[in-house]
Symmetry: C2
Subunit: 378 residues, 2 copies
Amino acid sequence: MTYSPAQPWNATSRDVRRSMRRHLREESTAIVATVVSVDGSGYRRPGARTVVEPTGESTGAVTAGCLKESVIDAARKIVADGEPQLRTFDLQDDDDAWGLGLGCNGVIDILFEPLDASFRPALDELRENLPVTVLTAVESTASTVSAGDRTVLTSDGWSSTERNSLPEPVVTSIENRLDATASKATGSLSVTTNAGTIRVFVNRLTPTPTLLLFGGQEDVNPVTSLASRAGFRVHVVTARSGHADADRFPDATDVSSIRPPQLGDLVEAPSSTFAVLMSHNFIDDQLALDSLLETAVPYIGVMGPRKRFRELRESMDRTLDTADLDRIAAPCGLALGSDSPTEIGFSIVSEVLAVHNDRSGGRLTELEGPIHNRSEIG
Amino acid sequence: MTYSPAQPWNATSRDVRRSMRRHLREESTAIVATVVSVDGSGYRRPGARTVVEPTGESTGAVTAGCLKESVIDAARKIVADGEPQLRTFDLQDDDDAWGLGLGCNGVIDILFEPLDASFRPALDELRENLPVTVLTAVESTASTVSAGDRTVLTSDGWSSTERNSLPEPVVTSIENRLDATASKATGSLSVTTNAGTIRVFVNRLTPTPTLLLFGGQEDVNPVTSLASRAGFRVHVVTARSGHADADRFPDATDVSSIRPPQLGDLVEAPSSTFAVLMSHNFIDDQLALDSLLETAVPYIGVMGPRKRFRELRESMDRTLDTADLDRIAAPCGLALGSDSPTEIGFSIVSEVLAVHNDRSGGRLTELEGPIHNRSEIG
């Protein structure tokens, strides 16, 4: 397979964040374009982001492709202008039949901003595996507030950036509304103050998820490369130090070995870590499972047939309760009829994506409700 | 992502067949190892195959990795010996706890054969997109039959190879048993004749599936590369000739353009062709759908929200009946909560794999029944 980060449509959130960090480190000029809202059914949801360089090179995609040129043109103008700016792309056609397309036929609001140090506080929180919410003004009738003004909400409280902060009453109002609805969605909210109305883009960012693969045999490799492709940081952990050779798993972020009862010690960010036990060794998997259950990881996949898990479970010292079983997937994977190691990789990575996004994995055509995991707030 | 065909565990059936064709073309020495039966729960099912070169390089995997050295050693001995041979790998341990592993702890029968011209008739049928069944003796108490004797069942009837054919009564007996059970499984059957008992490996082979992607925007690219990785031949078809640039879709087998009402004309092997409409253009998708419904393709995925498909359907000249709707997936894909183009690629390719293997795509942990799509016959 040909995979190049130069193909912007292959980029994951992780790639986009890496690109942002690199530009900040190298102090090179770039523009960040972020979908703020989509009217109708868009190809991508609010929060989708692309980093555009002055050359026109980009990482990430905000549409299915149709707006590519327009987005790059707009980004270049922002480079020249220097100020954050909201642009509306109205691609609806007068002809009804054409207006029913996807994304490129809808109305999309995109915020264009210079990639400046105001992005750093959020990137730093994410690097520490902490979620973060970035509030950015996108439109304002208040003379004291401009598009791009920003306040960052971290677990420690409010954080300002090198840009102007949002007025305190605006941030408080948004915090209260988010708390009241327990919303985790990304989207825009309008706040009216004495000074005017300010539309704020509420960007909820979560850490890059980690896939912890326990096993050292060859079949770990396709799972590693597919999970990496899907945007996971992949940590391969073997029970035998002789198997912990980084060259064997070139797409893994980390390769290490550990005694199975200590596997849980390797979990750095429990809420964003997904684990799969595929050592093909009954005792090792059992000890590793026992260890992981002591952590708060939301997903523990166990490879192998139902009978094996039943026996594994019955011979454990602990009794698995409903909360334990809710996060154990045994057999792990989606029902794709997989046989080859690559198909098994698709089965597992797709299940982890579904769990990560709180979905069932079943066929969309047989389900009801929205396709996307994020719904707009407002 | 690092993907190398030199990593045998990444190989798909398509890669294994390509390797076989290349060795036959170049007349280079190689051994084919094929799983004939698995006692208990194996990592791979009967029919799993690896091609081993005298250097020890291999393509494809018959286990999760544990038997790698033994399989390569056995293959090398066959090279020296020259005769097909069945080998049993019994990796069960006396200790019950260890005996409950996967694959590498079970009993696996593997047939080792020189990669000779007897493989060609089946490969030729597959290249013509025809299914084919290869019958190969793996054990025999009849003095007239040896391991490796082979008869090929094609849609045209029986075909012999450069090896000895199986005795007519044996082939007839197997054909009758397959017809009686309508079995499509790969596995082994024993036939007793006056001369003795012959165990025959019945290998059901289907053509490499094709994924026909109708669309020319950038989001086609991740679907193309993931489908190629999953073992599909990918044909990208655009409605605009300007988009039909092979450089834009480096993992596609074919890139071409056509007027949407003629899309069905490009379907060469309907029963093994899966189509996804992702042109992002309402009229083009509608015309393409109408054209594909004239063919016998088993799957037509339509990208986009439910509302769009409802309107697309209502404004068609034809009325879609149940048989039509059964093969239309709208929205296409599994419910992974996908947002990025890569995640959408996983969603679509996983659904196509599930449909190809006659599975639901739901989570295995919430389903009953076997994990694998093939069950043994016998």
